[in-house]
Symmetry: C2
Subunit: 249 residues, 2 copies
């Protein structure tokens, strides 16, 4: 099994198994193969398999029946904004495929808002990615993402700094690239929401009237205890995003 650079093996195994469950390679409600069989199949140790299964159980994708084995859940939880993940995945979890068009990926002098949000020197530069997400060819959201550039980025990850210098990955948001390069190592995060209107520029990019209502999300995420990601997701009215809330206690 090839593991993306910087991604712990248990997380890679988790992702493979989760993808298998979502693709019904392991059908809903079915008994999963034994730890040792999964380990052989995926070319990893039983310990790694066991840790990945623990994560799957925590996320409600599988459950254990004592003395019997592990089963795929009868119904899969639909992940929402309660978790940090690439916005194309948040929209795709509505059940359809989401296209990602890269509009720009540049290094910019940070605005006050961005420098403040990322806790950077006011003279610092930042990476700015803008992508448009589509469904069935229709634009549904704009994603504007900021992370530190230069030394501040190398402090976060030399690997990521290197990767971004290459031609940009087509068809991904910056957060998807970050998670792919570094593994899921971001957080905690905060996602704030409000309503607004499109205005001329965003209206043009989303094929909407300037007066059209929009859902506007501001996402921040930390890495190693400091602000490392700041984004704005601008979403067409009618898209429904969800938050799963645990029972009160």
């Amino acid at each position: 099994m090839t593991v993306p650079l910087g991604q712990p093996r248990r997380v890679a195994v988790y992702s493979r198994l989760a993808a298998g469950i979502r693709a019904q390679v392991f059908p809903l409600g079915s008994l999963l193969p034994k730890e040792s069989d999964l380990g052989t199949r995926l070319g990893v140790s039983r310990t790694v398999v066991r840790e990945a299964l623990m994560l799957l159980e925590e996320d409600g994708l599988i459950h254990t029946r004592r003395g019997v084995g592990r089963f795929v859940a009868p119904e899969l939880p639909r992940a929402g904004l309660e978790r940090l993940r690439p916005f194309e995945e948040v929209l795709a979890s509505q059940g359809q495929t989401v296209g990602v068009e890269n509009l720009q990926a540049t290094i910019q002098h940070a605005t006050d808002f961005v420098a403040g949000g990322l806790e950077l020197d006011p003279d610092a530069n930042t990476w700015f990615w803008e992508t448009r997400l589509t469904r069935d060819g229709e634009p549904v959201a704009l994603v504007q993402e900021h992370i530190p550039a230069g030394r501040d980025l190398r402090d976060i990850s030399p690997l990521l700094a290197e990767r971004l210098r290459d031609p940009q990955d087509p068809g991904r948001t910056l957060f998807a690239v970050m998670t792919d390069v570094l593994g899921p190592v971001f957080g905690p995060g905060e996602c704030a929401m409000t309503a607004g209107v499109a205005g001329a520029t965003r209206g043009r990019l989303l094929s909407l009237a300037p007066s059209a209502p929009l859902l506007i999300l501001t996402q921040t995420a930390q890495h190693g205890g400091r602000a490392a990601y700041l984004a704005k997701y601008i979403v067409r009215a009618g898209e429904r995003l969800s938050i799963n809330q645990p029972p009160q206690s």
Copy 2:
């Protein structure tokens, strides 16, 4: 200590201590009194205190230093939509006081949407509460809440059925009354969000133009494994609601 009916003692103690922390009776960063002292002060056993402290630690309000004791966190997490709670509390967590005006509290024949959402017989009746939330006298949100009525409500809680027959509690949403009567026993829940426009009626109730953009949240929550609460929160543009997201793993 008087415990609201149906509320576990650990949750009552949790609430008391959390309120004390938020009111700075226990200042930020300070050492908390010992378990035994807290127990004496609150008139409950050490076991109950210990369980409440565990909940406070899980929620980031306190932290333990091994061998030293428990400390109030240096900064309090601002709770957001990742938890099920009364909408006036969600808006109040922005730091200001929120007023709640009851517009109506009636038993209605369920619409298809409500009967479906609450998994009720299409002929069933439901409680419908509508409240308007204000800040500094300005309307900021409308809250429209539905729960089962009659037998279906008595199946959930005879106590709650009884309480709703009395004159309505002024200045609370239905969810706040439910949590007050039964304790925090609801969930899991799902909160879905989208953007929309006010339209004439809601615009009038919120003092907005019919074309004004709004944030629209649909909240569902279960009780004992079945749908028990369905609400729509209609929020003025500019209000920022947040979701706290744990680190990726």
